[in-house]
């Protein structure tokens, strides 16, 4: 049949067919598009964090005062050193990943194996560090009192150093209040772990220690949290103190606004989940490399595609690091 169109007039042009305009395989291109959509998800989280922070711009917790711990160095004030270490571990594992990709281009199986292994180790160290970071954050350190309106009142000495509740509050040994649970006879009531102290005990402790003052959430012009006078401190705790808060969860948070803890759990949790799944995928690819799957294929592009995902996880962490810990 001579009616079939055999000539479109676009032959030889970029999108005229029979060429590869993007010069990338289907899998690699789709990995890039997945990364774009995942980047937008993380941007949604971080922008929502920005929204809440701008909403409470004069009372948001100061990250330097929240993340001050370093493993095995108890009581040492080390703001951000551990997160900086985590950032470095992740960048380092990105480097071993890109070296694995490079070795794959040269079809060098043993080098790909070594570098993939190092990448997995880096990922595991990072996830472990994040678990430790969560543990420290949840456990808390100093304790605080939450007011009826949900504001957090912390304690400092006259020089402005933080004072922990355990340093000036004495628990009443005759306190009768115990945690409600089902086996206590009240089958219809349940509640979370009770704080170590009650608000009344905090009031007694505060009255007994003249050098302890209350610090509110409000950030003053010098960029520091406001410290109340002695009289004001007693008045605030007595009139407004409602719950003693130790550590952080999704409802309360001894560091300040509960939203800070919510976003911390959501954003670092979602990122940690990405790192975790990245480690799993890397392990699968690692075994494929050992088994020689890509050697037989004469093509290590699978390593490259997984590498893109792994670098993306690193990329997101760079932003989380800035917006959660630095800014």
């Amino acid at each position: 049949m001579s009616t079939t169109v055999v000539n479109t007039g676009t032959e030889g042009k970029t999108w005229g067919g029979a060429t590869k305009p993007l010069n990338a395989s289907y899998g690699k291109m789709m990995m890039w598009f997945f990364i774009v959509s995942d980047a937008l998800t993380f941007s949604g989280f971080l922008a929502a964090y920005g929204f809440s922070r701008f909403k409470f711009i004069d009372s948001w917790p100061i990250a330097d005062e929240v993340f001050t711990h370093f493993p095995f160095l108890h009581g040492v004030n080390a703001p951000m050193y551990y997160v900086a270490f985590m950032t470095f571990v992740l960048i380092m594992s990105s480097v071993t990943m890109v070296l694995a990709v490079d070795a794959g281009h040269h079809l060098n199986k043993s080098k790909v194996t070594i570098y993939m292994f190092l990448t997995i180790i880096g990922g595991v160290i990072f996830v472990g560090s994040q678990a430790w970071e969560w543990g420290t954050f949840i456990k808390g350190d100093y304790g605080a009192v939450q007011t009826k309106g949900g504001n957090i009142l912390q304690f400092v000495d006259t020089e402005g150093h933080r004072v922990a509740l355990r340093d000036f509050v004495v628990a009443d040994p005759h306190a009768e209040r115990t945690q409600h649970d089902r086996k206590g006879g009240l089958w219809f009531v349940s509640e979370g772990t009770l704080p170590t102290y009650t608000v009344e005990e905090v009031v007694h402790g505060l009255e007994a220690h003249n050098n302890v003052l209350v610090r509110t959430q409000i950030i003053n012009e010098a960029g520091e949290k406001t410290v109340l006078s002695r009289a004001e401190s007693l008045k605030q705790i007595k009139e407004n103190g409602k719950v003693v808060v130790e550590g952080a969860n999704l409802h309360v948070n001894e560091y300040g606004s509960p939203l800070f803890a919510d976003f911390f759990f959501f954003i670092t949790g979602f990122h940690g989940f990405h790192v975790f799944s990245g480690v799993i995928i890397n392990i699968i690819i690692f075994f494929n490399v050992i088994l020689g799957t890509y050697e037989r294929r004469k093509n290590y592009e699978m390593v490259e595609k997984v590498g893109l995902y792994w670098h993306f996880v690193d990329l997101v962490w760079v932003f989380v690091f800035t917006f959660f810990y630095l800014v």
Binding site: F33, T147, H311
Partner: protein, 126 residues
């Protein structure tokens, strides 16, 4: 498969002999940037605490350094530098446009809600 890598960074200021060498070079650069960020974050120099465009100058420095790091991770570790222009623009411009749009709207709204609490009749300080 033949793989061509562009081995120049900083617009040709630094040239590397091999891809592996470039990777280590970029690692050194990223490490230096991270160290600068952490040092600035701990010292908080008084001269950088002034307000520039509604934010502390120091925060602007952090954000710019972050974008610089993101650029080198994407361009050199993810090999965006070696992709064709069409793919690069599809990925980068789409993301940047949508993210800027989202950030503008949410931060604007957040600032507005703050003003309502501050100047309006809604009270939450009790």
């Amino acid at each position: 498969m033949a793989h061509e890598h562009k081995l120049e960074i900083f617009r040709g200021l630094v040239k590397f002999k091999s891809n592996t060498q470039k990777i280590w070079g970029v690692l050194i650069f990223l490490t230096v940037v991270t160290i600068v960020e952490v040092v600035l974050g701990i010292l908080k120099p008084e001269s950088l605490m002034g307000q520039v465009l509604g934010m502390k100058a120091l925060n602007w420095i952090f954000i710019i350094l972050t974008i610089v790091k993101a650029y080198y991770i994407t361009w050199d570790f993810m090999h965006m530098r070696d992709e064709v222009k069409a793919l690069r623009r599809m990925v980068v411009w789409t993301a940047i446009f949508l993210i800027l749009y989202l950030i503008f709207i949410l931060l604007q709204e957040g600032g507005y809600v703050f003003d309502v609490y501050k100047d309006g009749f809604i009270k939450r300080d009790f």
